[in-house]
Amino acid sequence: MTTFLRSVSAEFAKIFTTRLWWLLAIVLFCYIGLIAGGLGALLAGVETGVISPDAVNTGGAGAFGFGSLPPIIYSFASSVGYVFPVLLGVLATTGEFRHQTLTPTFLATPRRGVVLAAKTVTLVLVGAGFGVVGLAASVGLGGGALSAFGVDALLLDSETWLQVGRTILAMGLWAAIGVGFGVLVPSQVASIVVVLAFTQFVEPLLRLAASFLEVTAQIGNYLPGSASDALVGASVFTLANPAGAPPLDWWQGGLVLLGYAVVATMIGYAVSWKKDVT
């Protein structure tokens, strides 16, 4: 147990002694702040009539069919921001291969499974921290924009804070998926390319394509992005849902995400982590 706790402390030290974590955190905050603040202002303006619907060419107020705006705006922290904890996790594992730091790591802690478990726990916690950063942007700036246009930001609503908690959990799980993917594809360049291509391009298209038929929509619910949105409980991506397949429950979404993380990490452990370090 002490070996494990020391290993966790060492993994924390690894993250916080290079610049990557705060560079990613700053970009995450600005990116989410821009989207949540901008869309929050726009949609709140339309809803309250401050901005004329014709000016934004939507074909009429209410056509959004959003119901309540704040959950959607706040969900940008994870529905858009999830790629940041994934990248942090991927870089945490692939960096060990790339810079050959597995050698000193395994010399200090020869139990490799312990190291990988410690890395996962550490990244879940730092990923959760990224959740807080993303929420600071989406709730802080997005909520501020809503309030500025006279829409209730629902900051005293317990449902809002439950969503905040589930978002933090989702971001932690995404970091664990990053760790797992990094051991599955230890080549750093390949890993980053696949993560960016999948999260920014392939998965959104798959989700869209799957949503047209009820059968495929049910399968589409198990895509990691859909599972994450189900866990969080709100997302712009689930608004357009022609076939109307009901999303997973929040806890089912959480288990699906956890499943991706566990499966990727276990396969990665076998194919790269426990192999010869030469």
């Binding site: 290993s7 690894k14 610049r19 810079h99 050959q100 730091t101 597995l102 050698t103 030469t278």
Partner: protein
């Protein structure tokens, strides 16, 4: 002072695909001595050391410290310090933070970090990012990592590569001091000349197999003694040698006579009235013995 454990390789073999990198290698390394682990590039030194440290899985055989495998050591960094040839650093991390990470992982006091950086002469660069380090500084940082747990045994893979002359002098003294304190020192090199001033014992491998083992002096054999002799009047010299029944061959710097006794040739020349321009015994140095053992003309 930490006393070193005996390092024992028992019948280790390693195949990478079809390549037999190490083949049935067995030897022990005693505390209180510096043991040179020698062999040309590709001989299997790094592979053997990585097997010893649990980084590479042997195809068969075991390697232990006092009978215990590396992965089963309760405090590995306090038992064995290792510096392997690859530069294993995150370039964006400072030397202090680099060592700090592993001090935490091994449960060592953080004060050790500055102590070992001072010991290897890097204290002034402790806060500098390792990406800006020279090869020699990286070697020193690798050594600092090895010393972190104040271990009784040191395993160093080609530690002299990339060091400047001052650094080479420093590490030679360092190895002697460490052994004098009773530690077990195993240091690899592809050049005997690099380490012959520091080692007590040698273990020589070639193509993954043991070819020689023993004290350094065991390499100093006069297997084929020769004396180089020459004269402005080579014709009469060769006649004199032939008459005395001494076989010879014609070398680049003179005649290579098959005798270890220059005085004999000097007497011969004097009685034959031949003037000599060259007369000395050819040294068969340690390096020659080493090259002969590992198979001669390698890209050394």
């Amino acid at each position: 002072m930490p006393t070193g454990a005996v390092i024992e390789f028992s019948n280790i073999s390693k195949r990478f695909g079809g390549v037999a990198a190490v083949n049935d290698l067995s030897f022990t390394v005693e505390p209180g001595r510096v043991t040179g682990f020698l062999g040309p590039n590709g001989a299997g030194k790094t592979t053997s050391l990585r097997i010893l440290l649990g980084l590479v899985a042997a195809s068969s055989g075991t390697a232990t410290f006092g009978g215990v495998r590396y992965r089963d050591l309760p405090n590995p960094l306090a038992t064995v310090g290792a510096a392997l040839e690859a530069a294993s650093f995150h370039p964006g991390r400072s030397a202090r933070d680099h060592l700090g990470v592993y001090a935490i992982a091994a449960g060592l006091p953080r004060t050790r970090v500055m102590e070992v950086l001072t010991q290897v002469g890097l204290a002034a660069h402790a806060a500098q990012r390792v990406g800006g380090y020279s090869l020699g500084m990286r070697q020193r940082l690798g050594l600092a990592y090895a010393l972190l747990g104040n271990p009784g045994a040191l395993v160093l893979d080609e530690p002299i590569n990339g060091l400047d002359p001052e650094g080479i002098r420093w590490i030679r003294g360092f190895l002697r001091d460490m052994a004098a304190e009773g530690r077990t020192i195993l240091v690899s090199s592809h050049l005997l000349s690099e380490v012959q001033q520091s080692v007590d014992d040698v273990v020589i491998i070639a193509r993954g197999e043991l070819v020689h083992l023993g004290p350094l002096s065991s390499l100093d054999t006069d297997a084929a003694p020769q004396t180089i002799v020459d004269s402005p009047d080579r014709e009469n010299l060769t006649a004199a040698l032939t008459a005395a029944g001494i076989t010879f061959s014609i070398g680049r710097t003179g005649l290579l006579a098959a005798t270890s006794d220059p005085a004999l040739l000097g007497h011969l020349a004097f009685t034959a009235g031949v003037e000599l321009s060259v007369l000395h015994r050819q040294k068969t140095g340690l390096e020659d013995s080493f090259l002969a053992l590992v198979g001669g003309s390698h890209s050394l």
